[in-house]
């Protein structure tokens, strides 16, 4: 049995930790609300296109929904998945590499099929 290296937080440290945890959780809930809003905007934009409201052409709607989707993915990755926290350098590297190839592959397939 190895010697335990548990560190005990003092009462003040514990209260501080709990306060920070509550603040962080509140931030997560705000980010969630933001993602719901982004989803609403995406769907709303497409419904406006369907209703043929002036100004909502496909050249406007398509870039907008992709932008909103990209922002939402960023929020989810960085906040929900803790990608912004310390110690996430390697995951970030591999994820971005995955995204780069993930963008190139569909582009390659589309070019092969449709050019």
């Amino acid at each position: 049995m190895t010697h335990s290296m548990m560190e005990e937080r003092t009462e003040a440290e514990q209260r501080l930790k709990e306060r920070y945890a509550k603040i962080e959780m509140r931030q997560q809930v705000w980010m969630f609300t933001f993602t719901i809003l982004l989803t609403l905007f995406s769907f709303g934009t497409v419904i406006a296109y369907q209703q043929e409201i002036e100004g909502f052409s496909r050249y406007f709607v398509l870039p907008v929904i992709f932008l909103l989707g990209a922002v939402q993915v960023g929020v989810q990755l960085y906040y929900f998945m803790h990608l912004k926290e310390k110690g996430h350098g390697i995951p970030q590297y591999f994820l971005y590499m995955g995204m780069i190839f993930g963008a190139l592959l569909p582009l390659a397939m589309l070019t092969i099929v449709w050019w």
């Binding site: 190895t2 514990q14 709990e18 945890a21 769907f43 993930g102």
Partner: protein, 208 residues
């Protein structure tokens, strides 16, 4: 730190999921796995984008007339909320509240099951209309992409159910903390993929 040591709120590490070497390895390994899954879904997206609306001539199913945005919106809300409930579970994980972890993971499973029920209903509806896996390039690409995502959701549901049941008597310790955290990462990832699916398949599909 021993993985089976007894803790209190004051001694529980701030990041229990990476407090042991096993936890650190699982954390890194799982992120690498997610990088690989990104490529997997990218290939399925590429195939779908290339083949959407392609079918035998006179094929009556197009992205414009097939998809129901109300259903997709409901499914999106369910999955997004299930991501939030898993965030709550990890909050409780980090604050040494085992009942909180179990409760919010169960909520995640419930919402995920709701999502899957809706998706099954959608697929059965399409098959009844004649839009089946083998009926056209478009349909097979669609069912492969969305079906693979649904399969990932189903696997996640089995995983979280097992986690909840097998750890019910164990309480929180450094053995199961990385397991819960890994599941949470997986669940967020399939939510991220769903954001891409509803944007590229459904929203883009409705636009001619």
């Amino acid at each position: 730190m021993e993985t089976n040591e007894r803790f209190t709120k004051e001694t529980w590490p701030a990041h229990p999921e990476t407090a042991t070497l096993e936890g650190k390895n699982k954390f890194l390994g799982f992120w690498l796995f997610l990088g690989g899954e990104t490529i997997l879904f990218a290939t399925l997206f590429g195939t779908y984008l290339a083949l959407r609306n392609s079918g035998p001539s006179g094929y009556e199913f197009t992205t414009q007339n097939l998809f129901d945005l109300k259903l997709v919106f409901a499914m999106t809300l369910l999955l997004l909320t299930s991501s939030l409930t898993s965030v709550y579970a990890i909050y409780h994980l980090r604050n040494y509240n085992f009942r909180g972890v179990q409760f919010w993971m169960a909520m995640t499973a419930l919402l995920g099951t709701g999502f899957l029920m809706f998706e099954l209903y959608e697929f059965v509806h399409y098959v009844k209309l004649g839009f089946t896996f083998g009926s056209s390039a478009f349909s097979s690409a669609f069912f492969t992409l969305v079906g693979t995502h649904g399969l990932h959701v189903a696997v996640g549901l089995v995983w979280v159910t097992l986690l909840i049941l097998r750890n019910a008597k164990r309480g929180l310790n450094l053995y199961n903390a990385p397991k819960y955290y890994t599941f949470s990462l997986y669940w967020h990832f399939i939510d991220v993929v769903w954001v891409f699916i509803f944007t590229v398949v459904y929203l883009m599909g409705v636009i001619s």
